[in-house]
């Protein structure tokens, strides 16, 4: 890589050609203050906080957009520069409502922190008293235009990262305002409530409703983890205070999603109103009663050991950790010799004989076939990948039903029967990618195989950890009629047992490992309370086959235990010497997933 030599504050610096002054300064450890700039977004030089003195340039230049050149001499903290930055801040503070003492973001605000840095201890200009509206029409977060500094980070996040293009600007100068679509309330706009704008806002203009006024960042803990709401496996940070989850943020360092998450990851789980199962329950005289773990597990162990392996049934959700699924397969499949094992979600058929491609391949493609998958609803972050590629000029062909929510973005919408038309187009493309889900028919699979090495195939598994369920052989096909004793790992999933329970033999023994109360539990003989996503550690395998570590952020509700621990305890209760260490089980599971 060609390097360019320059001087920043008389210090010799070299940086790759094409870098901006800001990038070169960061490489050299020189701090230049920024406000509209964000590492994940394209710089636009809007706020003028990063102004620097460049020798030979008539005016001060924004470091975030000014490219470096050989022999350039830059001063980042000269008195002229400091004066200009202070002036910029005085102007910013004089517009709209920047009274810190009654703002939710005080203590965490980037504008405020620059006010401190440049000693803004009073206002030089009369403050602007025009009142701007507050838009609270979205369910999860508020836009207070009075706190907005019009830095356009939100607009760029919406356009560049999510490729949703909901946000834009209207008016000019001091009347400038962020708006949605053609100036409609945010709640009625094309906004998908992914909250990426909320995450990049430098001030208190965008405020999370649930965690507002619940503490400054320094009072919270950020625990990196992996989302378990779908099969993409986005990296996220669970923000907690005093043992409570306040909110969820995207992890900028995450390999899969690079900071962007969706509504289902960020907001929905925190608004879950289902009642938790907090203690083990055992049916006594026809009624479920609270018991200790020991008694509950003893009862399960006795019934499982006392049932013929052919009459033993196992059903599992795909929303469980690798460790739990591994132990489930080991205990029931290997040790107890059960074969009647199935899952609650389907598995997408393997289309390609080669190893599957990664989500990142979507970004490189010129033609994207979305076949039998509706990522907008089922794997929202995958739909952001597709929309970003469309922005870069890729052509989208949706082969699915008419109600597929990517259909409006497609240049061609086809029925599954017409898949050959899509394949013809893909044959002519330079870099075709096929994104497929469980809706792909057998015929379509056969047709798609003709693309062979030409295309990259990206599966979108319908369940969270479907990949591991299939890898551990837990997707055997389940026959309810044959089950005399059934172990259901339902976890956090909503499943009422319809279509299964009524087909089971009379007097069949039902064990449910669940996090939430549900109609299913009313039929159970034993209920084992399970920790949810924020309360357990473990690993998850995403739709690409990538194994990622999830971390525990808070203590489990009541006496609930992590999914894998329950199975490990049960196995030991049955006299099987299973490991009780998460690290050991993780290693064994990872070995099998290779």
């Amino acid at each position: 890589m060609a390097m360019v030599n320059l001087k920043i504050n008389d210090q010799k610096v070299s940086a790759p050609a094409g870098s901006t002054i800001l990038e070169a300064a960061r490489l050299a450890g020189v701090d230049i203050p920024t406000l509209c700039d964000h590492p994940a977004l394209t710089p636009i030089g809007a706020c003028r906080m990063c102004l620097v003195e460049v020798k030979g340039q008539r005016a001060l230049q924004p470091a975030c957009t000014f490219p470096i050149a050989e022999g350039m001499e830059v001063q980042t903290e000269s008195s002229k520069v400091k004066e200009a930055r202070k002036f910029v801040l005085e102007l910013l503070f004089s517009e709209r409502n920047h009274y810190c003492m009654y703002c939710e973001m005080t203590g965490d605000c980037e504008l405020q922190s620059l006010g401190y840095r440049y000693g803004i201890d009073h206002w030089v200009y009369p403050t602007y008293t025009k009142r701007f509206p507050v838009d609270a029409t979205r369910q999860y977060f508020i836009m207070d235009h009075n706190r907005c500094i019009v830095c356009r980070r939100c607009i760029r996040a919406c356009g560049e990262l999510v490729a949703n293009h909901t946000l834009g600007m209207r008016q000019r100068g001091a009347d400038s305002m962020i708006h949605a679509d053609m100036n409609v309330p945010f709640g009625e706009s094309s906004c998908v409530s992914c909250g990426t704008c909320l995450q990049v806002c430098p001030t208190g203009a965008l405020v999370d409703k649930r965690s507002a006024f619940m503490g400054r960042d320094v009072e919270t803990e950020h625990i990196k983890s992996v989302c378990s709401q779908c099969s993409i496996g986005c990296g996220m940070e669970i923000v907690t205070r005093a043992g409570n989850v306040l909110r969820v943020e995207g992890d900028w360092d995450a390999p899969v999603n690079a900071g962007v998450i969706c509504q289902v990851a960020r907001f929905d789980p925190l608004y879950d109103e289902r009642q938790r199962v907090a203690k083990p329950l055992l049916r006594k005289n026809g009624k479920l009663a609270e018991v200790g773990w020991d008694k509950a597990l003893q009862s399960v162990a006795e019934h499982m050991a006392g049932t013929d392996s052919r009459k033993l049934g196992v059903l599992t959700t795909s929303n469980a950790t690798n460790e739990a699924l591994y132990l489930l397969a080991k205990l029931f499949g290997k040790e107890l010799q059960a074969t009647n094992i199935g899952m609650l979600n389907g598995v997408a058929p393997k289309v390609s004989g080669n190893s599957e491609a990664s989500l990142a391949d979507i970004a490189q493609s010129d033609v994207i076939l979305v076949v039998g998958a509706d990522p907008v609803n089922d794997q929202p972050v995958a739909s952001f990948f597709v929309k970003r590629a469309i922005d870069k000029g890729a052509r989208l062909i949706v082969v699915d039903g008419e109600d597929n929510e990517l259909a409006p973005f497609a240049s061609l919408n086809l029925k599954m029967a017409d898949i050959n038309k899509a394949i013809e187009i893909a044959q002519r493309a330079d870099y075709p990618v096929v994104v497929y889900g469980i809706g792909v028919t057998k015929k379509a699979v056969k047709a798609l195989r003709e693309l062979g090495q030409k295309a990259k195939f990206v599966p979108l598994e319908p369940g969270v950890n479907t990949h591991a369920v299939a890898a551990f052989g837990l997707d055997n096909g389940f026959d309810p009629a044959a089950a005399q004793a059934l172990y259901v790992l339902v976890g956090e999933q909503d499943w009422d047992g319809k279509g299964v329970l009524e087909k089971m033999g009379k007097g069949a023994f039902l064990v449910v490992q669940a996090s939430y109360e549900s109609p299913l539990i009313e039929h159970a003989d034993v209920v084992l309370p399970m920790a949810i996503w924020s309360e357990r550690a473990g690993s998850l395998t995403n739709t690409e086959g990538r194994v990622q570590k999830a971390n525990k952020a808070v203590e489990p509700e009541g006496e609930a235990k992590p999914d894998w621990e329950i199975l490990s305890l049960l196995a030991n209760k049955m006299g099987k010497k299973f490991s009780t260490s998460l690290d050991e089980i993780s290693a064994l599971a990872a070995e099998r997933l290779k």
């Binding site: 810190c100 009073h122 206002w123 008293t129």
Partner: protein, 181 residues
Amino acid sequence: MAKVTIATDWLAACAGCHMSLLDIDDRIVQLLEAVEFTSSPITDLKHPPEEGVTVGILSGAISNTRNVEVAKQMRERCQILIAIGDCATFGGVVASRNMVGTEEALKRAYIETESTVDGLIPDSPELGKPLDRVTGVGDLVQVDLFIPGCPPRADALFYALSELLAGRTPVILPPEHFVYD
């Protein structure tokens, strides 16, 4: 050596800044060896003496004509004027009224609130007349030192007074004493 004289007063304020001044705690005894508090809203003597003081301290925003009078008098009677608290430096909580306008704010507060029956906007002649716009003290008279904070920390006030006693005039407080809330 004669003691340095200090007078304090409040404008449109909540008294929190003066509480912070008292929060200097036992260090105030040490302070009193070198300074004399001539007058303050929380002592018997309320007004700065005619012969003037060395340091004048004002908390609160300029919200009505009475505040204007008090602020101007303090400026005339002191050599160094310190504005303490967010209200005196920026307008503070009082200035949130600017977002709706004075008339609207008075109507809402005294007539329209859900718990009010037969409300009345106070207009007794002993009260100052509300201004159309609330500002910090610096918008009206020359201020020599701003100490923001809601309230400013006792340590910040103690630091500023100690510096002045040592013959140094702080221009901007050091970061550990500089807060907006």
